[in-house]
Each structure stands twice: as structure tokens, then as C-alpha cells.
């Protein structure tokens, strides 16, 4: 419409809010005349990234935009919405924009919009649920305006970033948005099945604002007629949709046709009938047994404690990946350890896990600050573990669950301890439920933990726990959580007791067992229960699980063959390398195993690579196999209480402006497997951060990677900054566009052609 009014091609349309407000208002008026009840202010593309350098500030553009809409709206009962589109920068983990930076950019727009007199906020055309969360939190925390959200989906039921319809419904209902739905994306008929799905996951009013079909590829024009559009959209009323509009390719004629076609009231909304928790891409629905993995927890695990103390986030993330592979559907995350900044660590671990696994998370802490840090960083809807019947705990934690829309685990204990009988525990469960309801947390989100006590210490308690699970399930109608493994503590053949108790608890109604999914017998029991309870239709999953069993036997059989560590590493055989390292550790010291077996084997692999006898995947396979050996050495040392074995620290980073870092990651894997400790600062890293890390960690070698000609400049700046700091260290550089000459020219000490050379350089510098 603005283009038809003469907006020059290529100009930012929002500039007219300041320079030609009358023209913008005139366009709005046409929509009012056509029957629009909500005007989207011309602010979709305004944010500090997209409108930087246009000559007007975010505030001026937003205020101008809202004023234009106000001019057209005044005198009628038409509402003005502050329209917020995507920032145009990809958020972490796939992109580099931080969640907090995104929040701040949205806050700037929102504060200006409310000040200028907007009646509500509409966050639209979003494909990243995490970006939506940043915007919604910014709106809720900085304005008093109602918030509507519409996202953009493909016919597959996912956004470009992989968010699903259930995840959208659960997450945004939890965050308290006032209405939600879809815009853009597709034509009307393709959005109907998606809005039907969404109606099951939220009680909120639904919005539908499709495109006028698909554009013609050659010309970009939309071909659907206004009448056709309105006719195809009208059936959405029967699905309970109450807010309608048109996106790309629609004009006032479309709105007119739509107003005429929608004169009847929408069907009443039914309550959401599907519940659960989710990440952006994966939902654990509460309609059957969902396994919560317990392994991200330092309690009683020396290696995990060491990882926390050394901020070895990769080790922690690997425990998440391992559990996802083993069949966990939710991950419990506990990073509490004396001397650790728990809120900061929680934030870091949550973000790192989200980059690596799809599963919804359970934030496990007794520190409200750590709980909030975790909930804020979560992309999706989480569980909080836990509250109990103590009033002060309920008062501190429930409001956080409400604000961030999390489900909450309530432990059946209070200031008087754990009731010894099932009736007492159920009474506490009831109290927790009441407190949660009065805080505005829906019933479905209250999960009760009836508490497992060790059967070797309090034998009569196992029956009480099971009885309490049955009571909470049947009488209160709530879902139950139970940490199962504790039952067998102190007994031999623990697995027998654990599995037997788990089976009985599932039978009593337990649906969210917290277990170690790496224990095959535990997951086998869950698989069997799912068949017997009818959750696993036609035993499909069960048959799949056990049909693939022989493959494992084959792998173990191969391990029996006799070979040297060197051969095992050269061939990239992980299990064999691990086994052989274990044998060697029985006769040699840890350092000897590293220096006399693992490193020489890697050197031989490196030589073969240089002679082009093997190529890159084989080099890395070998490094990974060696890693199994190193990990075993680390475990032995951690068990003795020593600190990790390391041949020296190296800082690695992909420089500012560069976001592709596979090359740097290859170097990292190889260096780590040579026994160096790599402090990986990631990608798009500003010079100051690299200098700061080099100085703080007192490293003698820094490795920098740059991919583009455009970013070699920022590599040169980084090198200059390190030199200027006076910190004494060597700098090696590598990356697609670099050559030895170029490396010397920008002041690097070494040029590394590939990962193998970087290991040679490390050896030269650090020994």
C-alpha cells in the first residue's frame, strides 16, 4: 500500500512515519473504512539492527508509527497495535545474537510504543520461539500492554527454525500471552489444520492472518481474490478462531470481504486438552510414561564435580546427549556444588544443552536465583524441581514458575520432615496443589514427588511411597514424579531392586520416573510397561528396541580381537582403544599411558595424514578413539582426587564477524586428543574477550581462525590487541583465506595449514 502511494523501492517504509505521516495515516484509514478493528502501526521493521543508519532513532520511528495509526483510529473504537517483527539477526545457538541482547532490543521498541500510546503489542512473523520469548518477557517486564503473538509456520507444522505448534502453544500460554496464532506463511486453507492443532494446546484466543495464497515466482504477485480469501478463511470460526486478518498480498478489499464473511460469532473455545512440557522442537506430552534423565547432577559423582569446578561444559553436555540417545524424554539439570556460582552455571549449562539436544529440561535447584536463571534461559516450557510444603519455599519459587510458565515438582515433605505414612504425604501434596492454584499455576502443571526412601534403611517405607503415588494419581488426579534409583542404595545387585520398584511404581500411577536411562534394564522395564499399559500401540517401539539388539553383540565381539593401542587408534576404534587403555592402566601410571602409548599413536596417525595415506575423517576418527583413552585416564585421576592431566592450555577462537567454525572445531578436537586443555571461546568472538581469556588463563598459545577475507581484518585487530596487552604468548592462525605470507603480515607467529599442523605447533610451544 505504501509502495502504491509512492514509496521509493528500497527505502525503509518506516521512515515515512516521520517524513510523511499523513500518507501513512491515509493508508490506515482505508483499512478502518474496510472494517479493521485493530491497526498494526507501521513499525514491523523498526529495531536497532534493521533501521540502524537510516537517520532516525528507534524511538522516533516507533513513536511516529504509533501516532500515524492513532490519527486514523481516533474517533472510533479501533485499537492501535505496536507491530514487532523479527530482529533480522539469528539468535544463539544457531546464530550469535545473545538472548539478553535480543531482550534489550525489544525493550527499546516496547517502551517507545507504550509511551506513544499503543493499545497492545503484536509480535508477528516469528519463526524462532526463543526470539518470541525474549520479546514477550520484554513486553511483560517493561509495559502494561496486552501481548498477542503470531508465528509463521510451514505446512509441515514447523517453523523454519524447527519450532512446533505444541511447543508454541505450551510455551506462550505459560508466558501469559493474551492471544496467539499464525500469520504469513501460507494461504488460508493450509493454516486451518495447524490452528486446529494449536487449539488443543492453549486456552487463549486464537488469531489467523494468512497470506493471499502463494506468490507467482516470476513476478512476486499474489493471485488469490479477496472473496476467495474470505471464503477459505471463514471455516476457522468453527475452530474457535476469533481474531482474523490478512498478511502478504492482502489489501483493504480483502479486509472488507473478510468483515462481510465473518459476521457470525466464532464457535466458543474449548479448554486445552493436551498438556506437557517442551523444548522449541520437542514436546513431552503428559499422556503416558515420560522418562526424566537424572545424570546431570554432581551428587556422588567425582568426575562430574570436577567438570563443574573446571567449567568443563562439554563434559556436562555429553551427559545430556548420552541420555537423549538412551531414550530420556526430559533432562533433569542440577549444577549445584559448593563454591560454584550456581545461577551463572545454570544459565550456561541450559544454553549449552539446548544447542546440543532437543529435550525439554527440568531445572533442579534449591536456590531461587539459580531456578530463575535457568527458567529465563530455557527455550520452551520447563519443569522446576522442586518446591515442598514449607510456606517460605512455596512463596519463593511458585511465583517464578508462574511467571515463566513452568510446571513444578512438589516434594511431599514440609517443616516437620517427611511424613512416615502415605496419608501424610498426600495431605502435603494437597497443600502444594492449593498453593500452586492460588498462584495461578494450572493443575496439570503440578507434579508430585512422593519421595523414595532407601529400602535397606527404612524397609516399610517402600509400600508407603507406592500407596502415596496411587493416592495422588487417583484422588488428586495429578501427575507424579519419583527419583527411583535411591530405593536400592546400599544393597548388592541394586538394579534388581531398582527395576522392580520402578515397575511397581509405574503400576501405581507414576508417569514421570527420574532414572538413569543409561541402565538398559531400567529402560527395558519402561519399554515393557508401555506395552502392557497400552501406551505403545501394537508394541511397535518395543519390537524396534529389541529387534536392533544383535548389532551391539557384534561390536563387543570385535573388541575381543587382539590388537595394539596404536592399531586401535589408527583404525578409529573407540571401544577397543578404551579397553586396551584400561588394561594398560593396570600396569602403568596415567602419565606413562599418555606419553608412551596414546601420544605416540596419535603422532603416527598424524604422519600418515601428512603423507596423504589417510584423509581428514580418518584423522579425526583416530583422534576420537584416542579421546576414549584420555577420558579413561581422566576418570582414574578424578577418582584419586587429582586434577586433570593436561599438557598445557590453549585459547581457541573464531574471530569477530565469522560465524562458521567447523575448521576451528576440528583443530580443537585434535588438540584435546593430544592432551591439551582447550579454552574454546566459540565463534564471532570480539578481540577484547580473547585478550581477557588469554590473560586470565595465562595461556602461552592462542589459536585464531578466520574464514572470510572480510574477517581477516578482525583477526589482525585481535593480534594487535593481544600484543598491546603485553601478555606473553604465541599466536597461531588458520582458516580458509589465510596463507603463510598473509599470516606473517598480520603479525601471527605461526600459520597452521590444518589440524595436524596446529598440534605440531602446540608441541613446539608447550611441549
Amino acid at each position: 500500500m505504501l509502495q502504491a502511494a509512492g514509496l521509493p523501492v528500497g527505502q525503509i517504509p518506516e521512515l515515512w512515519n516521520c517524513t510523511q505521516p499523513e500518507t501513512v495515516a491515509a493508508v490506515h484509514r482505508k483499512y478502518v473504512e474496510a472494517g479493521s478493528r485493530v491497526l498494526y502501526a507501521n513499525t514491523f521493521g523498526v529495531n536497532r539492527f534493521k533501521t540502524a543508519g537510516c537517520g532516525r532513532s528507534v524511538r522516533e520511528l516507533v513513536e511516529g508509527g504509533v501516532r500515524c495509526a492513532r490519527m486514523a483510529a481516533d474517533g472510533g473504537d479501533v485499537k492501535v497495535a505496536l507491530d514487532i517483527g523479527p530482529l533480522g539477526q539469528l539468535l544463539e545457538p544457531l546464530g550469535t545474537l545473545g538472548f539478553e541482547e535480543a531482550y534489550d532490543a525489544f525493550r527499546e521498541i516496547l517502551v517507545s510504543g507504550e509511551r506513544a500510546g499503543a493499545d497492545l503489542v503484536i509480535i508477528e512473523t516469528m519463526s524462532d520461539l526463543y526470539e518470541v520469548k525474549a520479546a514477550v518477557l520484554a513486553a511483560k517486564e517493561n509495559t502494561a500492554l496486552p501481548v498477542w503473538v503470531t508465528m509463521t509456520f510451514e505446512a509441515s507444522g514447523r517453523t523454519f527454525l524447527g519450532a512446533t505448534v505444541p511447543a508454541m502453544g505450551l510455551t506462550l500460554s505459560g508466558l501469559g500471552v493474551d492471544a496467539m496464532g499464525f500469520n504469513c506463511s501460507l494461504g488460508p486453507e493450509k493454516l486451518l489444520p495447524l490452528i486446529e492443532e494449536l487449539s488443543h494446546w492453549t486456552d487463549r484466543p486464537l488469531i489467523l492472518k494468512p497470506n493471499a495464497g502463494l506468490p507467482d515466482p516470476a513476478t512476486g504477485a499474489y493471485s488469490m481474490t479477496a472473496e476467495d480469501f474470505a471464503r477459505k478463511l471463514a471455516p476457522a470460526r468453527e475452530l474457535g478462531v476469533s481474531i482474523f486478518g490478512g498478511c502478504c498480498g492482502t489489501t483493504p478489499a480483502f479486509i472488507r470481504a473478510l468483515s462481510a464473511a465473518l459476521n457470525a460469532a466464532p464457535a466458543p473455545r474449548t479448554a486445552a486438552d493436551r498438556h506437557g512440557v517442551c523444548s522449541a522442537s520437542c514436546t513431552a506430552r503428559f499422556n503416558g510414561v515420560r522418562v526424566i534423565g537424572e545424570r546431570i547432577n554432581p551428587t556422588g559423582k567425582k568426575r562430574f564435580q570436577q567438570a563443574l569446578r573446571e567449567a568443563d561444559i562439554d563434559y556436562i553436555v555429553a551427559r545430556g546427549i548420552e541420555q537423549q540417545d538412551a531414550g530420556a524424554e526430559i533432562l533433569d539439570v542440577n549444577v549445584g556444588l559448593p563454591g560454584i556460582d550456581e545461577p551463572a552455571m545454570m544459565r550456561r549449562v541450559v544454553k549449552a544443552l539446548q544447542a546440543a539436544v532437543d529435550l525439554p529440561l527440568q531445572i533442579d535447584s534449591s536456590d531461587p536465583a539459580a531456578i530463575e536463571a535457568g527458567l529465563r534461559a530455557v527455550n520452551g516450557k520447563a519443569i522446576v524441581n522442586s518446591v515442598n510444603g514449607k510456606p517460605e519455599v512455596l512463596a519463593a519459587v511458585l511465583p517464578l514458575c508462574k511467571k515463566y510458565g513452568a510446571a513444578v515438582v512438589g516434594l511431599c515433605l514440609d517443616e516437620n520432615g517427611i511424613p512416615q505414612d502415605w496419608q501424610g504425604r498426600c495431605r502435603i501434596a494437597e497443600r502444594i496443589l492449593e498453593a500452586a492454584l492460588s498462584c495461578g499455576i494450572p493443575r496439570e502443571d503440578v507434579l508430585i514427588d512422593c519421595l523414595t526412601l532407601t529400602v535397606s534403611a527404612q524397609q516399610e517405607q517402600a509400600a508407603q511411597t507406592l500407596r502415596a503415588v496411587r493416592c495422588v494419581t487417583e484422588e488428586l488426579g495429578l501427575h507424579t514424579v519419583l527419583g527411583v534409583s535411591n530405593i536400592s542404595f546400599g544393597l548388592p545387585a541394586r538394579e534388581q531392586i531398582t527395576v522392580s520398584f520402578l515397575t511397581q511404581a509405574l503400576h501405581a500411577g507414576l508417569d514421570l520416573p527420574i532414572v538413569n536411562p543409561n541402565q538398559t534394564a531400567v529402560m527395558d522395564a519402561v519399554a515393557a510397561y508401555r506395552v502392557l499399559s497400552g501406551q505403545d500401540r501394537d508394541a511397535e517401539a518395543y519390537i524396534r528396541r529389541f529387534a536392533s539388539a544383535p548389532a551391539q553383540e557384534r561390536a563387543t565381539a570385535a573388541a575381543g580381537a587382539k590388537m595394539s593401542i596404536g592399531e586401535a587408534i589408527m583404525r578409529g576404534l573407540r571401544q577397543e582403544t578404551k579397553g586396551l587403555t584400561g588394561q594398560a592402566l593396570e600396569q602403568m601410571s596415567e602419565m606413562d599411558v599418555v606419553d608412551r602409548l596414546l601420544i605416540p599413536a596419535l603422532d603416527a596417525v598424524g604422519d600418515s595424514y601428512e603423507r596423504q595415506e589417510i584423509f581428514l575423517p580418518q584423522l579425526i576418527n583416530a583422534a576420537n578413539a584416542a579421546c576414549e583413552g584420555f577420558e579413561l585416564v581422566k576418570e582414574r585421576i578424578a577418582q584419586r582426587g587429582g586434577s586433570s592431566v593436561s599438557k598445557g592450555k590453549i585459547v581457541l577462537a573464531t574471530v569477530h564477524g565469522d560465524i562458521h567454525d567447523i575448521g576451528k572445531n576440528i583443530v580443537r578436537v585434535v588438540l584435546e586428543n593430544y592432551g591439551y586443555t582447550v579454552i574454546d571461546l566459540g565463534r564471532d568472538v570480539p578481540a577484547e574477550k580473547i585478550v581477557e581469556a588469554a590473560v586470565r588463563e595465562n595461556v602461552r598459545l592462542v589459536g585464531l581462525s578466520a574464514l572470510m577475507t572480510t574477517t581477516v581484518a578482525s583477526m589482525a585487530q585481535t593480534i594487535a590487541a593481544i600484543r598491546k596487552s603485553g601478555h606473553d604468548c604465541r599466536i597461531m592462525v588458520g582458516g580458509a583465506v589465510l596463507t603463510p605470507d598473509y599470516a606473517a603480515q598480520i603479525g601471527a607467529d605461526y600459520y597452521a595449514r590444518d589440524a595436524k599442523q596446529s598440534a605440531d605447533i602446540a608441541k613446539q610451544v608447550l611441549g
Binding site: P8, V9, G10, P86, G88, Q89, L90, P93, L94, G95, T96, T125, S127, T152, S156, T159, F160, L161, G162, C184, P217, A218, T219, G220, D314, V317, A318, I321, A355, A356, R571, G572, L573, Q612, E613, F615, L616, P617, Q618, I620, N621, A623, N624, G657, D658, I659, H660, I662, G663, N665, I666, V669, L707, M708, T710, T711, A736, R753, D754
Partner: protein, 223 residues
């Protein structure tokens, strides 16, 4: 026309990995097959294009965009129309590539190479479809920002004119890099005369970031 991923050439994948002959152990062959399968399974290929008339100064008529540099002017000199295109394997593959780097670096480099071969296949299929659509007229090869002296900064113009971010979900960073990495944008000329094939140059290749040949000072010979 739909974006189509019809196959991943093993030869291409190996080329991208810097393979220089010799026996491939069974473990690596298994990894290669698994990698190619995984990319075929996870890729959600998408492509868009739009046709513009080319004005006397090389500008695209109806826009404020004129491709910069001598090379593109020479490349399009016989063409009175230009197609802008963009294609991607989708964020699913991007996420797979990133996540696999945390799990298994060897598989990650194989996936990276296989994905490069896959996006080439998608582009080749799109170009074949376009050639059919525009017959009897002739199309040039693809020419992307970053080739020759067509500045990478003009990537932003293509994004704006095709509305790439919104329509197929590619994101452009400030330094001109695309996420998903396995994405291609290009100009294709339309002419009444057959066009000779030209070199595309390494910078245009999806493997540019980590090409073993280029770092060894040679090239894969494909360009």
C-alpha cells in the same frame, strides 16, 4: 517448481573431503553412507526465484539494484533478463551439522561435505527446471555475490529483493555469511544466445570454509 534434492554424489563428497585416492577402510565407507543418508533424510530443500528485466545500465528494472563490478557486467552482457535465485537445505541440516560437531567430529566433516554436494544438487535441479521453463531462451551459469568482483556485501540486496529470510528462512549475518551455511544465492542471465560456461571460482563454493584442496594451494578442478 519445487526444490528437489535428488541425490548426493559420493565422488563430490569425497572431493570436498580432500580425498586423494587409496583404499577406503570399511569403517569410513560406513560413515560416508551414514552421512549421506542422514543429509538426505534431514534436508528440507527450499528454493525461490524471481525474474527481472535488465536495464541499459545493468540495473534490475523496477528496483534500485545494479549488480556491481566488471565481472558480472561481462557475464550478463548478452542478457536482457536476470533471474535472482536462492536455495537452502534448511535449518534442520544446519542444526545437524552443528550438533554433530559436539558428538562426532569425523562424522561432522563427512556431513559437511555431503551437505555441500546436496545443495549443489538442489541448485543444479532448479537450474535444469528453469532452463526448461525459459526454453527456447538460454540461461547462463549461476553467479553469486563473492564471485569475481561482485561484492559479498550485495548479498543484502538479493535478500531484500527476494525476501529470502521470510520466504525460505535463510538468515544473513552482518559480515555477509548465510545461516544455514548450506545455502546459495545467485544471479542467472537469460538470453537469446547460448552462453559459454565460465568458472565460478572457489569463493562461491559451499565448501569454501574448509576445502582441503584450496588450503593445499590447488583446487578440486571443478571450477
Amino acid at each position: 517448481m519445487e526444490a528437489r534434492l535428488t541425490g548426493i554424489s559420493r565422488r563430490e563428497t569425497l572431493k570436498y573431503l580432500g580425498y586423494s585416492g587409496g583404499p577406503l577402510p570399511e569403517e569410513v565407507l560406513e560413515q560416508l553412507s551414514a552421512g549421506e543418508r542422514e543429509i538426505l533424510r534431514r534436508a528440507v530443500p527450499r528454493a525461490i526465484w524471481r525474474l527481472f528485466d535488465r536495464g541499459p545500465a545493468g540495473e534490475l528494472v523496477g528496483t534500485d539494484f545494479t549488480p556491481a563490478g566488471e565481472d558480472i557486467r561481462e557475464f550478463l552482457k548478452d542478457c536482457d533478463q536476470v533471474i535472482l535465485m536462492a536455495a537452502t537445505l534448511g535449518m534442520e541440516v544446519e542444526q545437524l551439522l552443528r550438533r554433530t560437531q559436539a558428538r562426532d567430529m569425523a562424522l561432522a566433516v563427512i556431513l559437511d561435505a555431503a551437505a555441500s554436494a546436496a545443495i549443489e544438487n538442489v541448485c543444479d535441479n532448479l537450474c535444469a527446471d528453469l532452463a526448461e521453463t525459459f526454453a527456447p531462451r538460454y540461461l547462463t551459469e549461476r553467479f553469486s555475490p563473492g564471485y569475481g568482483d561482485l561484492p559479498i556485501s550485495q548479498q543484502a540486496e538479493l535478500f531484500r529483493l527476494l525476501d529470502i529470510a521470510r520466504r525460505i528462512g535463510i538468515s544473513l549475518s552482518e559480515s555477509g555469511l548465510m545461516v544455514p551455511q548450506k545455502s546459495v544465492t545467485a544471479l542467472i542471465g537469460v538470453s537469446d544466445r547460448p552462453q559459454i560456461r565460465r568458472s565460478r571460482g572457489c569463493e562461491a563454493c559451499a565448501m569454501f570454509a574448509d576445502c582441503a584442496y584450496r588450503k593445499g594451494g590447488t583446487s578440486c578442478g571443478k571450477t
